[in-house]
Symmetry: C2
Subunit: 492 residues, 2 copies
């Protein structure tokens, strides 16, 4: 495997000017039609060599053109001059616009913010193929207790069914909010009132409502680098600026982030099990993050996407960041997409009491409320202990699948891939030296029918490289078969 | 009943200046604390007399302070200086901000646009009380065929259930999109491809996605006056400016709207059965509206909320605006909240092919997609003819309920309220002379347990007054009892 190293990103004034120059040159080439619509951009390394600048300089300029819609990325297939420009043209943005995030004249009749949303497709697009090992984020669904669920649904009388069929409270079903609050206390150490729980349609809507209510266009948000692209897409779609902050063994380097981005108004973190690197934020770092939020009057968004999948006994599980003293500025985002299944589209946000009304109103004008039946059944599912039982089974199953993955991969790769075991989560990371090109192996795996997401696709500026393997949603046979494919490719 | 007439709204330069002066005076009183937080504003009539200006001038200024969060309305309880200002203060907006819609410094830690969302609560808040005659917009749900629905759900195998439990296409279940496209052709005369149907969570989300993708902050949208406040709240929450256009017997007066608001980029209409006045837009007006959209490169949003409830035989039903030639700039918003039930949270938007990708992406970063099971069951419910059967029953039932309402009201009011029959819809309007105060009777009815929404609550500048009676969702006994209450109050 070839390992290439580029110059580290630099932020000195002269390099900043150089990046601006390269950016302006490329934009002008596109605007004046020298680079026509549909043209594939030269590979960044070759391009950098041609211009006599570092590869990072070119990457920075292309990233900016991407954000502004001049070029579009196709995953695994390079970057192209955007098609829409050819038909409609792009006016030269004013100086004010150059300092605003990605606000260029909208092609295709979209508004500027609509274009921002459409542009996110160039960075992230939820995979639509059937879940296949080792796709990330897919929980076990084949053995979901649909029969139990249906039985709870059937227990409702016709009158109860009719009551749930009306327009309902945008903040959510009262029984479900109560059940979630009790569950959070028992499972995640979070003390909150049921009234602070706002039901939403998975964590994606939670982030969307948070961005809409708490961020204005051009405001800065600290994000982990690498991080989950769906969150970044949501922030960018709202015109917020996602500012990458490196991770170390203690989690998000908040001191570094605070120094580099002093205007940041929010930080989005996955402290229990960082997505995707798997690091757990330790207590001193958690306290530093909460202190930063208080000092800067900033918000911390805790995305606890897989916090329930800590395999050890309950006493050893790390509680949520939101359970710590001084966490008044933390908004907790939870989802049933991992604990139950994604097709359910239910999750929740725990917000400070003063914000509940605004969240309910935002939900009301966004999509009114969550479906009545599903909320009511989920409330009973939790209250009657089925969630607890399901999670107990899933923790055992996921631990088993992780061990199977590690063992099969080690065997199939002749010991080349020895993944370190983890006591939590739904995926593992096989990390390699920084700036390794992790795309070729992913493409080979893809050709062999295995999804092996390169870490670089989650990185913003991070030079960390490797491959991610989601194991939670796949049976033993599928894990063995896919691990053998990867092992054979990796062992070459 | 007291009938008061105020001066008609005027838009001459001098009156505009006067309104600005009154507005500036009131804002300064609040900012400098002369009007403390929590203070109730004087009644508009008394206030206007004191200042020597028309009541409309005062109302305009207060409306603007409401939009900017300086004051808050409590339904049926006047207008108060906002509480939040006392604690946080409101900076004097810059001149640029004065020309932007409602962008003042955010109290309570909300962003400016978050404050816009929260402010909408002062104008509109979905009712949370159990549906009660004559609440608007509630369909019959007590006799919904839940058993049929559940049977279709049970027909799915465990493997099918599992397949629907994964992350799915944000644009919607392919079978559902196909079923909707076929249904729209058969029932509403709309020729569209299944690929143009984007599934969403009721019409509220349809409007939300449209506003987000096609409108920027400060852009103008023509709305019917009076109109549905949920749509207006969505537009305002996105920073768009809802510009009221009067209605006549042919529907929205597009020529007048175009002349008064030449910069408008969109019009939102309910052409089949205007909400809430019930007028149907005639063909010449429809053609004029489509011509306006083409001439101005503007969008027309057709909200067909109750288009399926035309009681006559199928041949007499008026097809959708979207079915006309030249309707390329129409976005059609449909919902199953009325045709089936609101608790289901399913609807759809039909968009031009070039916009499908952007809508799917907006849905993906907003809340990913609709629940898998509900989409799959609904697709079968439509394909197997259950929607057709249900609507046939509902049309008969609603016609019967409307007749019962008209008859009982006429009897109970000693002939004072003779509501004209309608061949469509889910509600009736009893209109009275313009500028009548329609709040007192609504309050009396409320005290007697009957919801009787005054037309003025849906009006922006319109002086039209009256009361709205939703009859679709209530059984014979409830209609009779509520009609007797209203009749007794109205017959006095």
């Amino acid at each position: 495997m070839s390992v290439a190293r580029a110059n580290p990103p630099s932020a000195t004034p002269s390099s900043a000017t150089l990046r601006q120059q390269v950016y302006a040159q490329l934009r002008s080439a596109i605007e004046q039609g020298r680079w026509p619509a549909g043209m594939r951009l030269p590979p960044s390394r070759a391009h950098a060599g041609l211009l006599g600048v570092s590869r990072n300089t070119v990457l920075w300029a292309v990233q900016r053109l991407l954000a502004e819609g001049y070029v579009q990325a196709r995953v695994g297939d390079g970057t192209y001059v955007a098609q829409a420009l050819a038909k409609h043209g792009v006016g030269a943005p004013s100086n004010a616009q150059l300092h605003a995030p990605a606000l260029v004249a909208p092609p295709r009749g979209l508004s500027r913010r609509g274009q921002l949303v459409a542009d996110t497709a160039a960075r992230w697009r939820p995979p639509l193929v059937a879940a296949r090992a080792f796709r990330m984020g897919a929980p076990e669904v084949a053995s979901f207790p649909f029969a139990v669920w249906d039985r709870l649904a059937r227990q409702a009388s016709q009158a109860q069914r009719a009551a749930r069929a009306h327009y309902l409270d945008p903040a959510g079903d009262p029984d479900l909010r109560q059940a979630v609050a009790q569950w959070l206390w028992a499972s995640r150490g979070i003390r909150c009132d049921a009234a602070q729980v706002v039901v939403c349609s998975g964590s994606q809507q939670g982030i969307d409502l948070i961005a809409r209510l708490l961020l204005d266009v051009g405001e800065e948000v600290l994000v982990e680098d690498p991080c989950y692209p769906g969150i970044r897409a949501s922030l960018l779609g709202h015109g917020a600026l996602a500012r990458p902050v490196p991770l170390d063994a203690s989690g998000l380097c908040i001191a570094q982030g605070a120094a580099q981005w002093p205007a940041a108004r929010m930080a989005v973190v996955t402290p229990t099990h960082q997505f995707p690197t798997g690091v757990r934020m330790d207590l001193p770092r958690r306290q530093a993050l909460l202190q930063w939020a208080r000092d800067h009057d900033a918000w911390v968004v805790e995305d606890d996407y897989d916090g329930e999948f800590q395999y050890g006994n309950a006493a050893q599980r790390v509680p949520a960041l939101c359970s710590l003293p001084g966490s008044e500025r933390v908004l907790y985002v939870g989802t049933f997409s991992k604990t139950l299944h994604p097709g359910m589209r239910l999750g929740f946000v725990v917000v400070p009491p003063a914000l509940v009304e605004a969240f309910a109103m935002a939900r009301a004008i966004t999509d009114r409320h969550a479906p009545g039946d599903a909320q009511a059944v989920l409330a009973r599912f939790i209250a009657e202990g089925h969630l607890l039982r399901h999670l107990r089974r899933m923790r055992e199953l996921y631990l088993h699948r992780q061990q199977l993955l590690i063992g099969t991969l080690a065997d199939a790769s002749d010991g080349h891939w020895q993944l370190p075991a983890s006591d939590r989560g739904m995926h593992l990371l096989h990390e390699v030296p920084t700036d390794t090109d992790d795309e070729p192996l992913a493409r080979s795996a893809q050709a062999a029918g295995v999804m092996l997401v390169p870490l670089s696709r989650y990185a913003i500026h991070s030079p960390r490289r490797g491959w991610l393997l989601g194991y939670a949603g796949y049976g033993d046979e599928e894990i063995r078969a896919a691990a053998r494919v990867v092992g054979a490719l990796a062992g070459r």
